[in-house]
């Protein structure tokens, strides 16, 4: 096993760290319909010839960017030690069938109290051409193993 990168744990100076954008996710009519059914949202806007996605569908794409955070060996975060405590979204326009969407994660805040890291994340959803579509911001509480 290589130990070239030691986990130093999350620190306040990780605020501002950005991860590469995910590969573009292409929104499909089938996935929109499946998601709308699963949240029991019966708006007709999700069906027909030009469907839009339910607003919180943004999370399906934003969550793909979380992987980069948990894969970052320097932070040493474990998903099974993490709870999602707060979520917010800001939408510029609805996602539509055929939109290609990338997700880019930035660490926006780090607070530490006793054995817990309180991490703020902002995931920007954009088209590959640079159109900003939405921001999905989350707060995660991570319990450190040495706590």
């Amino acid at each position: 096993m290589s130990s070239a990168i030691e986990s130093t744990g999350l620190r306040p100076d990780h605020v501002g760290r950005r991860y590469p954008a995910t590969e573009p996710y292409v929104v499909s009519a089938a996935k929109i319909a499946e998601f709308a059914t699963a949240i029991a949202d019966r708006s007709p806007a999700y069906h027909g010839s030009d469907p839009i996605a339910p607003p919180t569908f943004a999370m399906v794409i934003a969550a793909q960017a979380w992987q980069g955070l948990f894969d970052d060996p320097e932070l040493g975060l474990r998903l099974d030690h993490t709870i999602h405590t707060d979520q917010s979204f800001e939408w510029v326009r609805p996602l539509r069938v055929g939109d290609a969407v990338t997700a880019s994660l930035t660490i926006s805040s780090v607070r530490q109290r006793r054995g817990t890291d309180i991490i703020g994340l902002a995931v920007s959803l954009d088209t590959p051409a640079g159109e900003h579509l939405a921001t999905a911001s989350s707060t995660l509480w991570h319990t450190r193993e040495d706590a």
């Binding site: 499946e34 708006s43 339910p54 969550a63 939408w91």
Partner: protein
């Protein structure tokens, strides 16, 4: 509540919201099959949402709904009131309590009600109350939607 408050179900499809208007409570049933469906639709396959064994190992009494299911379903209730999901500009929520989903035919249900707390600058802010079994499950839930201005604004 003022005596001019409009009863939600009397509202036409899409209208200008005014401060103090309310809707609900709307009841949203949820059972295991819906939560499994949400796992697939969202690709969040955390086993605490489909396996009692894993949920108990994580300290729950059994399977719980995804917090994002509750947030999305609550927003859906607001959308069915305002008429058009394209009006939604922002939503925030705090995950306060889990929603346990028993392995029974009837499952369980959440209740969602809302109040317009602010109208300004072409936007209306709706505060949502989201509860399960009489207890609040999502806190600080606010939804901002576009709102046509009064002609004199």
């Amino acid at each position: 509540m003022s005596d001019t408050a409009i009863i939600a179900d009397d509202l036409p499809t899409v209208v200008r919201l005014a401060e103090g208007q309310t809707f609900g409570p709307r009841v949203i049933p949820v059972d295991r099959s819906l939560i499994v469906r949400y796992a697939g639709a969202s690709t969040d396959f955390n086993p605490i949402h489909w396996s009692d064994r894993h949920a108990r190992a994580a300290g729950m009494d059994g399977v719980i709904a995804h917090g994002m299911w509750t947030m999305g379903a609550a927003l859906g209730a607001a959308i069915s009131w305002i008429g058009d999901p394209a009006r939604v500009r922002s939503q925030r929520a705090r995950f306060i309590r889990p929603v346990p989903v028993p392995d029974t035919d009837e499952g369980t249900r959440i209740e969602v009600s809302g109040t317009v707390i602010k109208v300004a600058d072409g936007l209306a802010t709706i505060r949502l109350d989201v509860s399960h079994d009489g207890q609040t499950v999502l806190g600080r839930v606010e939804v901002q939607v576009t709102n046509p201005k009064e002609p004199h604004e």
